[in-house]
């Protein structure tokens, strides 16, 4: 699932925060800026920064990187330009993973229509976080620590590679917590649908080769669990 290059379109505060957080996951990060501003900051950047314009046909990009191994982040501050950029990238690269920023729900819908693989509506996301923090402070803190690795607890996606051990067994039947000290939250089936472990669909789904479990547990237990499942976790 790992991609080798992150392509960030737009040079602003969002870019800096994204770069800071994703640098561990990508071998290569390239930033593309639309205007001449922020030149002072650019000089200090440790990443390659090039210029682009919205009428680009991306030929240079095609030659410089393996586009199948890339994830594009469209973070232009002007919504119309961001939509145009997304549609332009999708037109050129059918399989490219495009993560785009949207200010609100309306822009998010337009970006999805334009072909973005994942849209982050900033206003909604921030509002959700604020509300969760106020209404469910403890669970928000725990999840935050798990997701962003600020505690010993980790979340992992583990592939089932030796399903014969669980032949005819439903994920629902096993007390994962008692047996392996991990909690299976959900199962990603071969049809790419994620189902909560206790949902009625998951209840009727026998464990199969290739299923991916989303699991929470301590690093040591997750390693052991991954060994039992016959795969590596990341």
């Amino acid at each position: 699932m790992r991609k080798s290059t992150a392509l960030l379109f737009g040079y602003n505060d969002y870019t800096l925060e994204i770069v800071k957080n994703i640098s561990l996951y990508y071998e290569n990060i390239e930033i593309f800026r639309l205007d001449e501003s922020s030149d002072k900051n650019i000089q200090n950047s440790k990443y390659k920064i090039s210029r682009f314009d919205l009428s680009d046909d991306w030929d240079e990009l095609k030659d410089s990187v393996n586009i199948d191994e890339c994830t594009a982040f469209c973070v232009l501050e002007d919504t119309a330009e961001n939509i145009f950029l997304t549609i332009s990238l999708r037109e050129a690269f059918e399989e490219l993973t495009i993560v785009a920023l949207a200010e609100d729900k309306e822009s998010a819908d337009k970006l999805s229509l334009a072909g973005a693989s994942k849209v982050i509506p900033t206003i909604q996301t921030t509002a959700n976080m604020i509300v969760e923090m106020l209404e469910k402070p403890i669970i928000t803190q725990v999840l935050h620590n798990i997701l962003y690795e600020k505690s010993d607890l980790k979340i992992a996606q583990i592939r089932v590679d030796n399903a014969h051990k669980f032949e005819g067994v439903y994920p629902y039947d096993i007390d994962w917590g008692a047996e392996y000290n991990v909690l299976v939250l959900s199962v990603l089936r071969e049809d790419l649908e994620t189902e909560f472990i206790y949902s009625s669909k998951a209840k009727h789904h026998q464990i199969k080769e290739g299923d991916v479990f989303v699991v929470v547990g301590y690093e040591k237990d997750l390693g052991e669990f991954e060994r039992i499942m016959g795969s590596r976790y990341d």
Binding site: M1, K3, A6, D13, L16, E17, I18, K20, N21, I22, L24, Y25, Y26, T71, V99, L101, E103, D104, K118, I120, T122, I123, Q124, T125, T126, A127, N128, M129, I130, V131, E132, M133, L134, E135, K136, I138, I139, V142, L143, L147, L153, I155, Q157, Y172, D175, G177, N181, L183, L185, S186, L188, T194, F196, Y198, S199, V214, V216, G217, Y218, D234
Partner: protein, 518 residues
């Protein structure tokens, strides 16, 4: 010697906590609209007024039982008298006036003048006694002296007391009062028209034997009936000159009538927002707990929408257009500046007890720092959350006393990290967070009752309800126990963190309140 005694007495009263408490209680009881007993008291007084008027009406043509008359003449009057005396007492503080004069004289190194102090006390008390409301109160007591037949009519003054108890009548009065000058002009105009036309009609018609106008009183009566556009028709001019006067009065009457209507409508339109805000402030004062959102645009709109599902929220927005929009969106919104202490004073709320959190969600860091500092200047403990627009200003917000800062761009970075690192896991958590497919994450606080029913995690039987017990948050050690063992003790104050179908979680929650699940 007497002066010394009086001043000592004034100090004793002024410093007595018990006396202050009693006086404060009666003041709230009689004058404070947000006092919970005042509404009951007002309703009781309104009931007394109506029963008194009903007895008066019944008395006109039928015999009324002696006990009812006794109730009307004595019991009600005595209750009104007590109320009058209490209002007279709480309206101003005699002891404070004496102390003020005494200290003033000491400061100027001259002998304390008891006479001057008494003069001020009398002036202040008399100001109250001669206020319209106090006069009505006094007249309402007069039927007590029912032996004087004329005084019985003063029962009707009890109706005027309704002004005091019915808030809507007070509002109407205050609205009309804003157009005092216009109404006075109108009154003078109408009086001149009535005076001139009644004299004219008298001069034109009085000597005509066929005319019904024979006296000046009949002429004035005709002018008043005509100008008011009522026109009974019992008196009408018969001479040509008289009819010309009538035409003039009719036209003036239309003007007076339309001017009065437009004055009342304008007064109401102008005061409408204020009236609505007043009502809103009264409603807010009665709320037990709510979030106070400062600013209404972008993020705050979304936060308000989401928080309003489970909690009450109040929006403070300085910009009139945005405040209107918040009202239109169905929120309790006030067009007040969140950065002004006066706004919170006007709200008449107890921030410590009523406000769950103050959310500074204005469009700039400058605005949010200012709001946070304003709140901190009068309350040190209330929880303040703020959004951060520019990372450089984070310390300024923390310095201003904000408890939690949300930086939108940092959140986006973290989401990008989640998507880059563990896409499936991240999406799964995201789906759970958004209550996708009815699955939600909830925290249930263990209270004494639940802790009494179930002493260990194993007894909770969460699996039976098809929900995942992610962990237990221990209140004493502030520790999070992931996947707790069955023998882990459950204590009051702990939190259960659960993931599951919302409906199943609700069922599980009600199960916890039943001893051994029964």
């Amino acid at each position: 010697m007497l002066k010394r005694l009086i001043v000592d007495g004034a100090y004793a009263i002024s410093t007595s906590k018990r006396y202050a408490k009693i006086k404060h209680f009666f003041y709230n009881f009689l004058e404070n609209d947000s006092n919970k007993y005042k509404k009951i008291f007002d309703l009781f007084m309104i009931a007394l007024i109506f029963s008194s008027v009903a007895i008066l009406i019944r008395e006109v043509k039928s015999h009324v039982d002696d006990s009812l008359l006794f109730f009307n003449n004595y019991i009600i009057s005595i209750i009104f008298l007590i109320e009058y005396l209490l209002r007279f007492w709480v309206t101003s503080s005699v002891s404070e006036i004496i102390i003020k004069h005494s200290e003033y004289d000491v400061m100027l190194k001259r002998e304390f003048s008891l006479l001057k102090a008494f003069r001020e006390i009398i002036a202040i008390k008399m100001r109250y006694v001669f206020s319209i409301k106090a006069i009505i109160d006094l007249f309402a007591i007069l039927p007590f002296f029912h032996e004087l037949r004329l005084l019985r009519l003063f029962v009707l003054f009890r109706v005027f007391k309704l002004f005091r108890y019915a808030k809507s009548i007070q509002t109407f009065g205050s609205v009309i009062a804003t157009k005092k000058f216009e109404f006075l002009t109108l009154f003078i105009f109408a009086s001149i028209v009535i005076f001139v036309s009644s004299v004219l009609i008298y001069v034109m018609e009085a000597n005509n034997p066929t005319s019904p106008v024979n006296t000046l009183f009949e002429a004035i009566y005709w002018a008043v009936v005509t100008i008011s556009t009522v026109g009974y028709g019992d008196i009408a001019p018969v001479t040509e000159e008289g009819r010309i006067v009538a035409m003039f009065v009719i036209v003036a009457g239309i003007a007076v009538f339309s001017f009065t209507t437009s004055l009342i409508v304008t007064a109401f339109t102008e005061k409408l927002d204020e009236i609505k805000d007043d009502k809103l402030i009264n409603d807010i004062a009665k709320m037990k707990s709510f979030y106070l959102i400062c600013g209404y645009e972008g993020i705050s709109k979304e936060v308000a929408k989401k928080l309003s599902h489970n909690s009450d929220i109040i929006v403070l927005e300085e910009n009139d257009k945005k405040a209107r929009q918040a009202k239109k969106d169905g929120f309790f919104a006030l067009n007040y500046d969140p950065g002004s202490i006066d706004s919170y004073r006007k709200l008449r709320i107890n921030i410590q007890d009523q406000v769950k959190a103050i959310l500074c969600l204005g469009h700039s860091d400058v605005e949010n720092v200012y709001t946070a500092l304003t709140v901190r200047s009068f309350n040190k403990d209330v929880y303040i959350l703020s959004i951060l627009k520019n990372k450089m200003n984070k310390n300024k917000l923390m310095f201003a006393g904000v408890n939690e800062v949300f930086y939108e761009k940092e959140l986006v970075g973290m989401i990008a990290k989640g998507l880059a690192g563990q896409k499936i896991a991240f999406e799964a958590i995201h789906a759970l967070r958004s209550s996708y497919n009815g699955v939600d994450m909830q925290e249930i606080v263990i209270n004494e009752r639940i802790a009494g029913n179930y002493r260990s995690v194993g007894k909770l039987q969460s699996k039976k309800f098809r929900i995942l017990l992610l962990g237990l948050h221990k209140s004493d050690s502030k520790e999070f126990l992931f996947n707790p063992k069955d023998d882990t003790t459950v204590e009051a104050g702990d939190y259960l963190l659960l993931i599951g179908n919302i409906q199943f979680i609700k069922e599980f929650n009600s199960f916890l309140y039943k001893k051994d699940g029964r």
